[in-house]
């Protein structure tokens, strides 16, 4: 699989699998709704990227993909260990923004 398409797919499923975990950790309804919105955005980013051929060799896309993968590792750690849901949502928001930047960059190429 192309690296950036794989990264976007992985981001969607990482966020999706975080929903039951954060629910179990006692996230508020507002926090869960925020997470759901981010999941929808990540899903949209992935499907938009799927429907467009990503230029994985573009340096900007490569850099963004690396950055997103790094953020996703932080998310995994935060969901598992931090217990601070607000912090987790901040990390997720940042990662999804990077995903959106990747898709926007690919569309412009």
């Amino acid at each position: 699989m192309g690296p950036s398409l794989q990264a976007l797919e992985n981001q969607y499923f990482l966020l999706r699998s975080s929903l039951p975990t954060l629910t179990a950790q006692g996230a508020t309804q507002d926090q869960l709704d925020t997470l759901r919105s981010l999941i929808v955005q990540a899903r949209t980013n992935y499907w938009t990227a799927l429907n467009k051929t990503l230029h994985d060799d573009d340096p900007a896309v490569v850099a963004l993909t690396s950055q997103m993968n790094a953020e996703q590792m932080n998310i995994v750690a935060a969901v598992q260990h931090l217990g601070n849901i607000a912090k987790v949502l901040d990390l997720i928001t940042k990662a999804v923004d990077i995903g959106s930047q990747i898709v926007a960059k690919a569309v412009s190429l």
Binding site: R36, V40, R43, T48, L50, N51, T53
Partner: protein, 304 residues
């Protein structure tokens, strides 16, 4: 379908560089192999369409269970992909029909119908777009399509050999270029199904009774409706098996798409050999087709 296949035979003969009325054994073999390969390609695309259709159903289910919104705008993305896959399936079907014709040879009465068949395929090839707004389809695909239309209309048989050669190469290039996208479609389906299944398990909505059959079936025993305690004790095992099966499903599809690339490249080489040397001694369809067929069949029972 029969009409198109018999009518296309004249073109196939010309395509394979034969100037006489007799069909060589090599040309017949190539035709059979091309037909099998193109039909397998058609079936691969059809399976992928079912996968995407099923994914839509999974997103709807997920929305109902987990509250993640899924509306018309979301669905349009998958429907766009489906439309492109259907076009590719149609292209593969036309290729199979054209390749299947090795019967009515140089029958002048077939010329017009042959032209129709070639024109139809040619138009499919020209109209295939990349996955929405994606990279351009290989130029050769469109050129091959135009070529087929041209030679069918002008009966320039000598040029037809190169057209078919270029057509197969272009179809192979298109598939290879889009393989990553195909793999990810299938992977998304498998992972989405797995995620929804896990959520249903967490809500105690899954009956684990079938898991007990290795212990009960040898003795002709039947399980009673599982207690909450039994459900809880089997839940982790069920989830672990689900993860393993999901990973296995992904690997199988990736192996199938790799096998499809190999098959198309192999057929492209064989047709090129026949078109340039008038010889193609290989018999039997590409062996890699078997893996594609197994994957397509394995999905048969998996979809709703």
């Amino acid at each position: 379908m029969t009409f198109h296949r018999s009518a296309a035979s004249v073109l196939v003969l010309a395509v394979l560089g034969l100037s006489s009325c007799k069909v060589s054994d090599d040309a017949i073999a190539a035709s059979q192999q091309m037909t099998a390969t193109a039909e397998c390609l058609r079936d691969y695309y059809a399976a992928l369409e079912r996968s995407v259709t099923d994914t839509i159903a999974l997103f709807e289910l997920d929305s109902a269970i987990s509250g993640i919104p899924y509306g018309d705008n979301d669905r349009k993305l998958q429907e766009t992909t489906l439309a492109e896959l259907r076009q590719r399936e149609a292209m593969a079907e036309e290729l199979a029909e054209l390749a299947a014709s090795m019967t009515a040879l140089s029958n002048p009465k077939m010329a017009g119908s042959t032209a129709d068949s070639a024109t139809k395929l040619g138009k499919e090839l020209v109209s295939v777009k990349a996955l929405p707004s994606g990279s351009p389809v290989p130029d050769a695909l469109g050129k091959a399509g135009n070529f087929l239309i041209q030679i069918a209309q002008q009966h320039e048989e000598k040029k037809a050999a190169k057209a078919m050669d270029d057509t197969l190469s272009a179809v192979a290039a298109l598939f290879a270029q889009e393989k990553n996208a195909y793999d990810t479609m299938a992977d998304t389906h498998d992972r989405q199904a797995s995620q929804v299944a896990m959520d249903i398990m967490d809500k105690n909505g899954v009956d684990p009774t079938p898991m007990l059959s290795p212990a009960l079936k040898p003795f002709g025993l039947t399980a009673t409706p599982p207690s909450a305690a039994l459900q809880a004790s089997l839940k982790q095992l069920a989830k672990d098996r689900l993860k393993g099966q999901t990973a296995q499903a992904t690997r199988r599809e990736e192996a199938a798409s790799t096998a499809m690339v190999d098959s198309l490249n192999e057929m492209s080489k064989r047709v090129h050999a026949l078109a340039t040397d008038n010889k193609m001694p290989v018999r039997g369809e590409p062996t890699s087709l078997k893996q594609v067929k197994e994957w397509v069949e394995s999905l048969g029972a998996a979809f709703i």
